[in-house]
Symmetry: C2
Subunit: 351 residues, 2 copies
């Protein structure tokens, strides 16, 4: 087992948060995975660019903007590494990793329309540049391209896994829309949303590795479990970072979720534990969307007072443990080590 996650930094805030692991003298925990799949990922990137092509030139322009804008490609790397973990030596993982990234990119395009975002990964969003209409339609195109890639793979099992995932993701996105601005959202409702909208694609991406390698159902289930727990941890940390990371590090604005009235776990916990005055604060700022300049620092202060960021971080660590445990049945090898390090990477982004 890798070292336990270090204790959460209680001094988290707008100014102090920084990803210590990415200091130049300390290699990123993402590095082993990146090294393991580098050659495969090159081919996936080429395939992605090739399949973005269309006689309608706005499509490769707009989609290329997002695809090229510096995403870490965590999801396709999961498929590549899981295939490696299962001893697969063929090439099917390449097309499927591209399909996974296309589904993810389609979701991002539609997300940014829904959230009316103007910044993602530090760059202007596609909807900010080309408008919402283009983002909706190019998202549809990418989704269709993903299915074309799966059809070429010729496995109904793969098609089942990813079409099921796509339906659950969409359900999660709608459910998230319904919890927006609702401070009465329960922790279980929040968890159901992030399991659907984020963890489902992580789970499917990892499971595909066992499917292409034609491994027994138990191995597919273990990889699915790994991916799901990792995805939940990843999203929990994302939600914590929205109240703590420096903009320059995360490439997104701190306080986006707050301004959008999104109800994430830190808010759920702080609201449940808050006094009447605190609840009125959350109701005013998140339900009625009445916010002033001073409200974001105040929100962070209340989250700290109620241990909400620290506890959300601890939940992420627990899901990280679940993800690590899911790999216990696999023999030790570089792919397994890289997938274990990926858990650390996802969780340690938070301090």
């Amino acid at each position: 087992m890798p070292e336990a996650a270090p204790p959460f930094n209680r001094e988290i805030g707008l100014t102090v948060a920084r990803p210590q692991r990415s200091r130049p003298d300390q290699p990123s925990k993402l590095a082993p995975l990146q090294a393991l799949v580098a050659a495969d990922l090159d081919q996936v990137n080429q395939l992605i660019l090739a399949r973005l092509d269309s006689p309608v030139s706005l499509i490769p322009q707009l989609a290329g903007h997002l695809v090229a804008s510096g995403g870490k490609r965590v999801r396709p790397m999961l498929t590549l590494a899981a295939a490696r973990l299962c001893g697969y030596a063929g090439r099917r993982q390449l097309g499927l990793a591209a399909a996974v990234e296309f589904i993810h990119t389609a979701t991002l395009l539609h997300d940014d329309v829904v959230d009316e975002s103007s910044l993602r990964r530090g760059s202007a969003t596609a909807n900010a540049i080309w408008g919402n209409k283009s983002s909706v339609l190019v998202g549809d195109f990418l989704f269709a391209r993903a299915f074309q890639l799966m059809v070429e793979d010729q496995s109904l099992e793969v098609l089942r896994i990813l079409s099921d995932a796509a339906a659950v993701i969409a359900e999660g996105e709608v459910a998230q829309l319904l919890t927006a601005n609702d401070t009465e959202t329960t922790e279980s409702a929040y968890m159901a949303v992030i399991k659907a909208k984020t963890a489902t694609l992580f789970a499917a991406a990892a499971e595909l590795g066992a499917v292409v390698a034609d491994r027994p159902a138990a191995e597919a289930a273990a990889l699915r479990c790994y991916g799901e727990a990792l995805g939940i941890a990843f999203q929990l940390i994302d939600d914590v970072l929205d109240y703590s990371a420096r903009e320059v590090v995360l490439g997104k604005s701190v306080g986006d979720d707050f301004r959008d009235g999104k109800i994430t776990l830190p808010v759920v916990l702080a609201f449940a534990r808050g006094n009447d005055e605190e609840r009125r604060f959350w109701q005013r700022t998140l339900e009625r969307s009445e916010q002033s300049e001073a409200d974001l620092p105040r929100a962070i202060e209340l989250l700290e007072r109620r241990d909400a960021l620290a506890e959300s971080f601890q939940r992420a660590c627990a899901y990280g443990d679940t993800a690590r445990a899911a790999l216990a049945g696999f023999a030790d090898n570089p792919a397994k080590a890289a997938l274990l390090d990926l858990v650390d990477f996802c969780v340690e982004r938070a301090y």
Copy 2:
């Protein structure tokens, strides 16, 4: 061959246009098709309702609103009738007809967001009631559900046909966005758009009938050709009706395309044939979107002056002839007769 389409009514306009065929004393040309597939369509409708279900209750609410709002189900009926034409006696056509309708409904939801429409088939659009965000996400859900239905059918050929169709439809929608407000749009650019965004799904829906019946490639190609030509005729008539039908008949506002700055064939023809003053009119109203109350009647007047509606109607008739000819190789039977009548129905909506 059915009777030739009657001559186009030159007096077309806001007050005179009416679908003579739907007079109570004259059965609709859609009736034979409806009778032929009534039992199957009942099952498709039940399947659609069952598959709209989701623990996220907004999904069946929103999608159900659109699915139940009185669409004619032309596309799923195409699949059902084509399967019958090919002598198929199984049940695969049911799930695939539902998948086709889901893809169509997803497209409508996203279309209404893109067009900022508030009325469809005489009812408020989903985006007008539940907002654009919900429409985008529920559209994604329906698209995923369509693929789940195809996966259950277990045919990679079906999955190929409909994933290819979905990609082409999205390309067509993006291309349409790019021609919007552009009076320099050529006739061939316009034709490419409607072939992609409308005719592709008609073609796929019809082709599926031959695929489930396991008929030779030539029959699949003939049905595909029939569906494509029918879809083009259908869209051409739709574009004519936008400048001529009575609102009460069509369930959509006359002049929607004009107000949206959409460049349809009537406008392409009128612009090409217009004098300088007329071109300035089209540029002001469609390119710069500077419109007043008097502009829609004026637009209709200019379309009439340049024979643009009549000629668009004639093109639709020619595609109708192509559709009929594509069925020449099939033996005469009630399914063939119904599909031939469907061509009349689509074209005769215009007078």
